[in-house]
């Protein structure tokens, strides 16, 4: 798999959620995703950027283009050193929220993307990786 250079955006203020959406939209459009996929990718990114701001206070979003087996796609990673998630499977359940939210962010992002991976350690932080491949 070949990859492009990684680009990074710091998330530490509410306005950075908007910045994350704009960055991801621009990247997905440039890669040639159609409007529905662009909307799916941006919506997933919005959920994860908000989770960083809300649960960890700060973190970074990194994104890069992917190229594998004749396919191209986008990878977006959300990294924080916040409290971590105690039970990742539970957090992926619809309606589970410790923050008074709808609890649809993680399960929603999983459905909107092709791949969603969560690495989390309590007391150390959380890394969520999203991938979406272009349908050719």
């Amino acid at each position: 798999m070949t990859t492009s250079t990684t680009t990074e955006l710091v998330i530490q203020a509410e306005s950075d959620i908007v910045a994350a959406r704009r960055t991801v939209r621009e990247a997905a459009v440039r890669l040639g995703f159609g409007i529905t996929d662009v909307t799916r990718i941006v919506t997933a990114a919005s959920e994860l950027a908000r989770n960083i701001f809300k649960y960890a206070g700060e973190g970074v979003m990194r994104w890069r283009y992917l190229e594998a087996g004749g396919r191209s796609g986008i990878e977006i990673q959300f990294v924080d050193h916040g409290p971590g998630i105690e039970d990742v499977n539970r957090a992926l359940e619809e309606g589970y929220s410790t923050g008074g939210g709808l609890g649809m962010g993680l399960p929603g992002a999983r459905r909107l993307m092709d791949e969603l991976d969560i690495q989390s350690t309590v007391g150390q932080g959380t890394t969520v990786t999203l991938r979406k491949w272009r349908r050719s």
């Binding site: 306005s15 959620i17 959406r21 529905t36 662009v38 959920e47 908000r50 649809m104 909107l112």
Partner: protein, 124 residues
């Protein structure tokens, strides 16, 4: 301003227009603006025009459905107008249901719906 919610009274209905990419503070302000205007103008209902909105995530959805519930408690009707197809597909895929809020393709049609008498009225 481009990034602000606008509220205009049309007939007996509040036309509320969301900007394309509102931050969370702007989304949160929706509730207060709508409820305040409902009271001030004794409006019959609310049309929420989201035709410019490009991203409708769970935070946005929650605020919209809570606001609609409160409008119902105030005896009004809420109709969402102009949801973009890509936004509708995405919201459905996430499983974001907007409860019993009515939707319309155009603001014109939404105004008619919102101005109509509520289907059920409380009888004292």
């Amino acid at each position: 301003m481009d990034h602000m919610i606008s509220v205009v009274k049309v007939r007996q209905v509040l036309m509320v227009t969301m900007p394309p990419d509102p931050d969370d503070t702007t989304v949160t302000a929706l509730q207060e603006k709508v409820l305040g205007a409902m009271e001030r103008y004794s409006a019959k209902g609310v049309v929420l025009d989201i035709s410019a909105v490009e991203t409708f995530d769970s935070f946005f959805a929650r605020t919209v459905s809570e606001t609609a519930q409160m409008v119902t408690l105030m005896g009004g009707r809420t109709v969402i107008a102009g949801m973009r197809p890509a936004v509708a597909v995405t919201a459905t895929q996430i499983g974001l249901t907007l409860g019993n809020i009515e939707t319309a393709l155009t603001t014109e049609r939404a105004l008619d719906l919102a101005a109509a008498e509520p289907a059920r009225r409380k009888v004292r």
